[in-house]
């Protein structure tokens, strides 16, 4: 090995390691700061997170879980049926509906949320977790429908045809043959629906009014924005860790599904 390529390799690893430390350190720091107390380490900050006057409550966590469950279930249902329709059927208006679904991406979030606030009021879903979930499902649709359509298109025709020859109708073909074949797509769609709904801030900020209905994200941010005096930074970092741990765990175990989701649009688009 020549001297210059050895130096190049060293340079590469030094740069890489330094950058990795730079990207990882905020995460490590927030874990450390959330556990540090005046005297040493402990769970005091987490205790204050859940008990202080403007801290979060168990029902906020329940609200978050409810919204996430509804959003994941709803997104999977709509995107599976829609992806099946777009990937495997021809019907009038198919391309128009697909384009309209993708157009959701082009319209800024804030623009329609003002109108959605009024609309949900009209249909009796103001300040409601169900209303919020419906909106979050709609915002998930461009990515999810795109992903599921591609997944269904990739299933070999013969598989579907042999099922039909065996006498499956379209529903049982979908349930028994197609769903197992598009499972990776479903996992990615479900994962992204969970992460978005669990961490989403702007939509709940606009659509939820009463503190009882707040999601955890909203409640934790409220510890900062509603505080008039000093901010309890340590409890805030405890809140950050509490919110981030489920997402980081999912990331650790499902990195493959993650990367597929991120790159599917780039590869096809």
């Amino acid at each position: 090995m020549t001297r210059s390529s050895l130096a190049g390799r060293w340079g590469y690893y030094v740069t890489g390691t330094a950058l990795a430390i730079l990207f990882l350190s905020p995460l490590l720091w927030s874990g450390w700061a959330s556990l540090r107390t005046g005297t040493g380490f402990g769970l005091e900050n987490y205790d204050r997170l859940f008990t202080s006057d403007n801290g979060i409550r168990v029902h906020h966590v329940v609200n978050s879980l409810t919204v996430s469950a509804l959003t994941v279930a709803g997104t999977l249902l709509v995107a599976t049926l829609g992806g099946y329709a777009f990937g495997r059927f021809r019907f009038p208006g198919r391309d128009l509906l697909f384009l309209l679904t993708l157009a959701i991406l082009m319209v800024p979030y804030a623009t329609i949320l003002i109108a959605l606030y009024v609309l949900l009021g009209w249909i009796g879903l103001q300040d409601s977790l169900i209303g919020l979930s419906l909106v979050l499902i709609m915002f998930q649709l461009p990515f999810s429908i795109f992903m599921m359509r591609n997944s269904f298109e990739a299933v070999p025709r013969e598989l579907e045809e042999s099922a039909q020859v065996d006498g499956c109708n379209s529903v049982s073909t979908l349930l028994r043959i197609m769903l197992p074949a598009v499972k990776p797509g479903l996992v990615t769609v479900g994962l992204f629906a969970f992460l978005t709904s669990w961490s989403e801030f702007f939509a709940p900020l606009i659509l939820l009014n009463s503190t009882d209905q707040f999601t955890t994200t909203l409640a934790v941010v409220n510890m900062r924005t509603a505080s008039h005096g000093s901010i309890d930074y340590a409890a805030l970092e405890a809140g950050v860790v509490f919110m981030a741990v489920p997402c980081l765990l999912l990331f650790a175990f499902m990195q493959r599904s993650y990367v597929r989701g991120f790159t599917s649009g780039a590869l096809k688009g």
């Binding site: 890489g16 950058l19 990795a20 990207f23 990882l24 720091w29 927030s30 700061a33 049926l81 829609g82 329709a85 777009f86 059927f89 021809r90 019907f91 009038p92 198919r94 959701i104 082009m106 319209v107 800024p108 979030y109 804030a110 623009t111 329609i112 003002i114 109108a115 959605l116 009024v118 609309l119 419906l134 499902i137 709609m138 042999s162 039909q164 065996d166 006498g167 499956c168 109708n169 379209s170 028994r176 961490s199 801030f201 900020l205 606009i206 934790v220 941010v221 901010i231 930074y233 805030l236 970092e237 950050v240 919110m243 981030a244 999912l250 990331f251 991120f262 790159t263 780039a266 590869l267």
Partner: protein
């Protein structure tokens, strides 16, 4: 699957038997039609969701922008007051200027960093998997949570940054990064966005880089092209669609910035980091004037649609 019993009616068989001398055409046309109906049926939930929660609000926001629309109480038509008042709204003017400035700085910064990272982890060698994971990990943290994380990280109370910089003598005394001056507040938000989104954009650029066939590089090398020439004449042109995609996402995302300023800087100091979306929120839920918020939204929407159409046109012409 052959153990499944044939369906009772047998009408869901789209395949005509191959040995049939003349396929019954009426039957086939009927089957195609019923299959289309079935497809439309499966697409119904999507159509309802898109119609009710996307198209209706889109029309409604336009309708609202033509009215004096208080948060509570009946709306009254006031065309074109909401629009003419945008021009008089000083906060809108400063927010537009700030949002554009932020978008330019953020797009350039994020693109350079993300491209650098993508080039760094492009080749398969030992340790690259770890580096990719390290750069991607911030993406797993929600953006609002990440903003709160940086609020603590940059704070003088518990954050290590100020201590560190004091120790090496870069600053002395108390520095408030997120609200001290408009420059440092903007800088704080940019560092946060770089940390959170560089990995995501790196990943997309990486897929573009890896889609370039190795033979192209081989050919460039045989022709005696230097590294820089190869990058400029081979990599960049072949990456054009990916670069366009990444830039569009960065620009759109920056124009719609909200969380980072709402949480990290509160729009301050003196509204100097108030973005356009923050103004929309303020008009609607603090000044309780939904009509005015709708008018600003429609204007922003128009800009973005024009921008997207131009971008699509440019992309299509080149490919």
């Amino acid at each position: 699957m052959s153990t499944l019993t044939p369906s009772r009616s047998g009408k869901a068989r789209p395949l005509p038997a191959p040995e049939a001398p003349r396929p019954p055409r009426r039957f086939r046309r009927g089957a195609a039609r019923s299959r289309a109906a079935l497809g439309a049926l499966y697409a119904t939930p999507t159509a309802v969701m898109v119609g009710l929660f996307f198209l209706v609000p889109l029309v409604l926001v336009g309708w609202m922008s033509l009215h004096k629309w208080p948060l509570l109480g009946a709306p009254t038509m006031n065309v074109p007051d909401n629009y003419t008042r945008i021009a008089d709204n000083e906060l809108v003017a400063s927010a537009v200027w700030f949002t554009v400035k932020y978008t330019v700085l953020m797009t350039v910064g994020l693109f350079v960093v993300a491209f650098g990272l993508a080039l760094l982890v492009q080749q398969r060698r030992r340790g690259v998997g770890f580096l990719r994971t390290a750069f991607l990990l911030p993406m797993a943290v929600g953006f609002a949570s990440a903003s709160l994380l940086f609020l603590g990280l940059l704070s003088d109370e518990i954050g290590p940054i100020s201590d560190l910089l004091r120790k090496i003598g870069v600053i002395d005394g108390y520095v408030s990064w997120t609200s001290g001056s408009s420059e440092s507040a903007l800088g704080s938000a940019m560092v946060l966005v770089l940390w959170r989104f560089a990995g995501f954009n790196m990943l997309i650029l990486l897929t573009g880089l890896q889609a370039i066939p190795l033979e192209v590089y081989e050919a460039a090398r045989i022709d005696g092209a230097s590294r820089w020439q190869t990058f400029r004449r081979v990599t960049i042109p072949l990456m054009r669609p990916t670069i366009a995609l990444v830039l569009t996402m960065m620009i759109t995302g920056s124009l719609l910035a909200f969380d980072q300023f709402w949480i990290l800087t509160r729009g301050g100091p003196d509204n100097s980091t108030t973005s356009l979306v923050m103004v929309i929120y303020r008009e609607a839920f603090i000044r309780l004037d939904l009509g005015s918020a709708a008018a600003i939204s429609v204007a922003l929407l128009a800009v973005l649609v024009v921008f997207n159409v131009i971008q699509l046109g440019v992309l299509r012409r080149r490919s």
